[in-house]
Structures are given as structure tokens and as C-alpha cells.
């Protein structure tokens, strides 16, 4: 009885030692030399694995940051400048602060502004719908409202407004990772400079039809009238293919174009309400 026990223990012990030696040798032989700083950098990154930086997940970004000599072109949109400064401190490399960005939806085509002329009956996804037709209104550039951008957002920062049926971006949550930009088959979402205190002005339209046609199907379409281009004192607005575009880097947020736009297709966000004009004040005084 005891001999069986001792033999078993002995055999298992020998087996264990032999295997341990083999494992150790193999581990030493095939050891992957990895820069320990990759782990350190990865620990600083947000860990969202959103791919907004263009690398496969945060580990991929950490690897790229450690290997690159010049990291000024690499940026983690989720962590922002703060994270990049910390990373730079560890790696001893230089970074420049980048302006924080945010996703904006360049369409204001709510049901009030453009009437539905077709009923879509299929898979509730923009990428499917866009292979079948250009949209349920006469505008073929506008939002389909089926929420592919909502589905891809890893930060829960987009929702479809039940009244306007357009995507709304939560400023607190949006990290400008760009997933929604890629998901939108109509290319309506743009990453723009967030602006001081979140103030920004942009043309909320992507319609390149001629003015009359655009206006016929959507009351807030950009009609390419050049009024904003003319009124802008900073030459920030360009107009191509019947569609205006405001360069966020040149825009000084004077809001002149917003007032000038005849179709209200230029939006101002996070500005305090305007003071009513003198005549209007007088008007109000009379009516009250």
C-alpha cells in the first residue's frame, strides 16, 4: 500500500519538475521582448478601445506612441490633451495641444422642415436604406433617421430626437472618436472644433442641389445664395456646388452669417440668446 503511494508521489514530482524545466526553457527561448513603457502608456489611455485614433484599440495606440519618434501626429480623441501630455511626459516626447473636437450633424431636415413623400419599409438601418433609395423626402442628401450613428457610438453620446427624428449629440459624452462619421452613409456627420465654451457655428446642410430644388423639398436647406460668404468679415465661408462651408479655424464666431442666412440653415450652438433689436423692443412695448 505505502509503496504505491510513494511511487505515485515520486512519479508526479519527477514529472512536475521535468515539465517545469521544459516550460522554463521554452519561455526563455521564445520570450517576447516588449517595451515596459507600452504597459505604462496603456494604463494612462482611457481603455475605450473605440478606434478613434486610427489604431486597433488602446494597446495598439500605446504601441504606436512608444515606437514613433514624433508623436505630434498621433492623438487620442477620447483622452484629449490632458492624456497626451501625461503620455508625452512618460515618453519624453513633445506634443502640441489640439483643439478639442465634437461631432456635429449637418442636417436640420426634421419632419416640420421637409415633408415625407415615401414610406420606407425595410431593415431599420441607414446603410440598408441608402442602397435602396435616396431618402424618404425629396432631399437626397439629408438624414435618413434610422440611427446607424447611434448604434456605433460606444459612449452613448448620440440619440435620435423623437420630434425632429434627427440624431442629437450629447456634448458631455461625445469624445470625437469619429465612429459615427464613418457609419453615416450620407456623410452628414463632421468632427468640428468644439470652440470656446462649446460655441460653434456651422452650416447644417449637405444639399448640393441648386437653390430652387433644395428649397422646394426642405425649408432649411442651404440654397447657395452667397449671402453668408459676402457678409463674413473673416473670409471663413466658402461656397462650392451650391453649398456653403464654414472653416472653423477662420471663424471668429461673430454670428453675422447666422442672421443673414435666408433659410436658417446656419446653426449657432451654445450662444447666449440675442438681445432683441431696438425696433422689436419697441414693437413688444406697444403690444404689451
Amino acid at each position: 500500500m505505502s509503496s504505491v503511494l510513494t511511487t505515485s508521489i515520486l512519479m508526479l514530482t519527477i514529472l512536475g519538475v521535468v515539465l517545469a524545466v521544459i516550460l522554463y526553457v521554452v519561455a526563455q527561448k521564445f520570450k517576447v521582448e516588449e517595451d515596459p513603457r507600452i504597459d505604462e502608456v496603456e494604463a494612462l489611455l482611457p481603455g475605450a478601445n473605440c478606434g478613434g485614433c486610427g489604431y486597433p484599440g488602446c494597446r495598439g495606440l500605446a504601441d504606436a506612441l512608444v515606437k514613433a519618434d514624433d508623436i505630434s501626429a498621433i492623438f487620442c480623441p477620447v483622452g484629449g490633451n490632458e492624456t497626451m501630455r501625461k503620455v508625452a511626459a512618460i515618453l519624453g516626447k513633445a506634443v502640441e495641444d489640439k483643439d478639442p473636437q465634437i461631432a456635429v450633424v449637418r442636417c436640420s431636415g426634421s419632419p416640420q422642415n421637409r415633408t415625407r413623400v415615401v414610406e420606407y419599409n425595410g431593415i431599420s438601418s441607414c446603410k440598408f436604406a441608402s442602397t435602396l433609395y435616396s431618402g424618404d423626402t425629396g432631399c437626397q442628401f439629408g438624414c435618413l433617421g434610422l440611427g446607424d450613428c447611434v448604434a456605433v457610438c460606444k459612449f452613448d453620446a448620440i440619440y435620435i430626437d423623437p420630434v425632429s427624428l434627427l440624431p442629437v449629440i450629447d456634448e458631455e459624452k461625445c469624445t470625437a472618436c469619429g465612429a459615427c462619421v464613418k457609419a453615416c452613409p450620407k456623410l452628414l456627420i463632421e468632427l468640428r472644433k468644439k470652440g470656446p465654451k462649446g460655441k460653434r457655428i456651422f452650416v447644417s446642410c449637405m444639399n448640393t442641389d441648386k437653390g430652387g430644388v433644395a428649397r422646394k423639398y426642405c425649408s432649411v436647406a442651404c440654397i447657395g445664395c452667397f449671402k453668408c460668404v459676402k457678409v463674413c468679415p473673416y473670409e471663413a465661408i466658402t461656397l462650392e456646388n451650391n453649398l456653403a462651408y464654414i472653416d472653423a479655424n477662420k471663424c471668429k464666431l461673430c454670428r453675422k452669417c447666422v442672421e443673414e442666412c435666408p433659410t436658417d440653415s446656419i446653426l449657432e450652438v451654445n450662444f447666449p440668446p440675442r438681445k432683441p433689436k431696438v425696433e422689436e423692443q419697441a414693437q413688444n412695448a406697444v403690444t404689451s
Binding site: V117, V118, N121, G122, I123, K127, F128, T131, L132, Y133, S134, Q140, D209, K210
Partner: protein, 443 residues
Amino acid sequence: MLKTFKKGGVHPPENKISAAQPVEVLPLPAKVIIPLSQHIGAPAEAMVAKGDRVKTGQLIAKSAGFVSANIHSTVSGIVESLEPVMDSSGYKRPAITINVEGDDWEPSVDRSPNLKKEITLSAQDIIKKIAEAGIVGLGGATFPTHVKLSVPAGKKAEMLVINGVECEPFLTSDHRLMLEKGHELMIGIQILMKALNVPKAMVGIEANKPDAVSHLQSLAKSYSGIEVQPLKVKYPQGGEKQLIKALTGREVPSGGLPIDIGAVVHNVGTALAVYEAVQKNKPLVERIVTVTGKNLAHPSNFLVRIGTPVSALIAAAGGLPDDTGKVVSGGPMMGKAVSSIDVPVTKGTSGILVIPAAESKRKPEGVCIRCAKCVSVCPMGLEPYLLYRLGQRMQYSQMEVERVLDCMECGSCSFECPANLFLLDFIRLGKVEVGKIVRERKN
């Protein structure tokens, strides 16, 4: 025992309600919209400007590339605009809009009804003539015919297959064409045989058109080398690979073309257009379109000028019924719902189908019960349920391995699925994504 293809297939209700209606000539509309992209390949380049006066049959847009086709004015009148107009794709695309004034044809076109039997042109001249006339596959695929006739080096055409199957339910335009234009069709087939230098042509017709089969069989006696073969009714027999299999027993290899096994397939409508182009010098300016639907007052077959708005066809067939749910361009299986009935008839429009509201909605999607009906009906031997799952998971490279590109989008799987899964939707999207992967790999 009638011949048919072996693998898969379904038999939807035939509903050929307009089969007994002779082809009527639709009156000219006030305005035609001629899209520049009515064929597979590069859009044609417009050659006219706003305000130009054009004649019927005049070349107004030139073929722009190897796979592309000429486009001719289908009416006489004045070019109103070159602005993009919504076509049956649901998108606005470049088009030429012409205001109709009278019907003044190009003098070179022979419009007499006389039959011209003798084929004087050489094979090369025939192909050149077909290219000039802007003829594309009129069965619906709209592949430029002259490209199909130019057999690539190293390959040899052995036989011509003529597609008179018309397997789509409701459609009867090819049926009427075979009954009413039999002689012209036979000469057209002989022209195609000469162009390809093949001694034999087989015409496949489904057995639900016995009058067309017997009519063409009796005509074929006086034309050498043409054999008319009735086929068992089964969808999608009009697919060229299925038709070749049914008629000859040969199978086109996966990823291959019919020419790989020595066959070239053309539709009966194309053969008639070839006759008119080669013998009568008439470009492709009109085609037969079935306008049909269960609630339509007068389901009909019309000879329509290309560019005529669909609304004009529906009006001529008794107007749009009140309970219309959708209007489909093409047949019920492979056709596409149009976003507006103002879209024009194009070279590929074989039918207009008006579907009542009660039948137009998709049923809610259920759960796959793994019954494998989709697998058994797929004529290409694919596994639609698997492709659907892979599509949902966006595993496009695996979809390529599962031969998603062999799918011809016949819709048999979605038709048969008891759970109403969106099988074809995911497969179609997968084809687009896999196409992108393949193109990237080539570059």
C-alpha cells in the same frame, strides 16, 4: 418530362394577367427624361446642350468606355435641361430632359413594316452596328450587348442561348413579343448567330406560354439552326446560368461567365432590338413594357418610348388604384420599388407592377428555425442562412469564402423563408462589402 435546371428554384404564383393583351403603342408623352446611366458600366457622355433641337433616333449621349452604351433621343423636340433627375435607383442621376414636339425621325431609320430577311453585314460590322444603336440586355440586366458579343481572346462561343423564359411572375412583355414579332425575332437570332459565328441557337421558353412555344417552333422550321425548347416552369430559370443548365446540362463554374463553357445568352427583346438595329438602322428608342397589378383596371403591354414617365403608363392602364401600396419597376421577385411614379422608363424596365397596400408591407422578422428551406431553394447552391448570419456579424471576408458573389439576388430564399428573415438584404449588402474587399486586393 420537360427540361429545367436541377438545383433549387421556387414556383411563385404566376399571375400573368396581361398575357392576352396585344402590345399597344403608347401615345407620346409631353416630356421624356432620358437618364445617362441606363446600362451597366460607365454612364454615357451627353452630346447635346440645353435648347438643342433633336430628332427621334439621334445620338444624344456617347458611350464612355469599353463597357458603356450609346443613348439616342427617343422623341423629337427640344432639350429642356441636362439636370440630374430621380430615376428608378431612387437617386438623382444625370439625365437629358426633352420636350416633345411632333415625331420627326432621323431619315436614315427604315420605319417600314417590311421584313428584311437577308443579312448582308459581316460579323464585325454587325457588332459595330449594335454598339452604335446602343443596345443593352433588355431582360433587365442591361449589360451592353456589343460587349457580350465580343468574345475575349482564347475563348470560343459554341452556341447561342436565347432567353424567352420570362420566369418573373406578372410580366408578359417577352411573351407578347414572341407572339407578335416572331419573324423579326428569328432574323435577330440569326444575326446574333452570325456575329458570334455559331451554327446553333436554342430558344428556351417556359411551358406556361404554349402559344409562344408552338408559334416559334413552327417559324423555326424555316430558319436553319434555331431550336425552340419548352421548359418546366420554375423561377429563376431566366437567370443565364440556370437557363444554360436547363437547356444544355452544362454548368458555369463559380465566379465564371457563360462564355467559359462556350455559351452566350441573349434575351428575346435584345434579339428583336438587334434585328431593328442591323436590318432597319433603328437605334434602341423603345421597348415593350408590361403594366400590371391585381387592382389595376386594364393590365396591358405597351410599346413605350424610353424616357416616358411611369405615371403615363399607369394612367394608360386605367390609373393608379386608390389602395396602391407600392409601385415596382420590374417583376415582383427582383424588381425594385420606385420612390416616385415620375421616374422614367429606361432600357431595362421590363414591367411596372402596382401592388395593393395590403400586400406591399414586409412581414415582421421571426426567428430562424434552421429548416434549411433557403438552402434547398438557392439555385446557386449557397447557404443563405449562413450568409445572413455572417452579414449580421459583418464578417465579410468569410462571406467571400462562402461564395456570396455567386448570388444573383433572385430572392428565392427570402420568398421561401417561413420566418421572413431579411436574408437577401444582408446578402446584398455583403456583396457590396465583399466587392470592395476584392477591388482593394486587385489594386
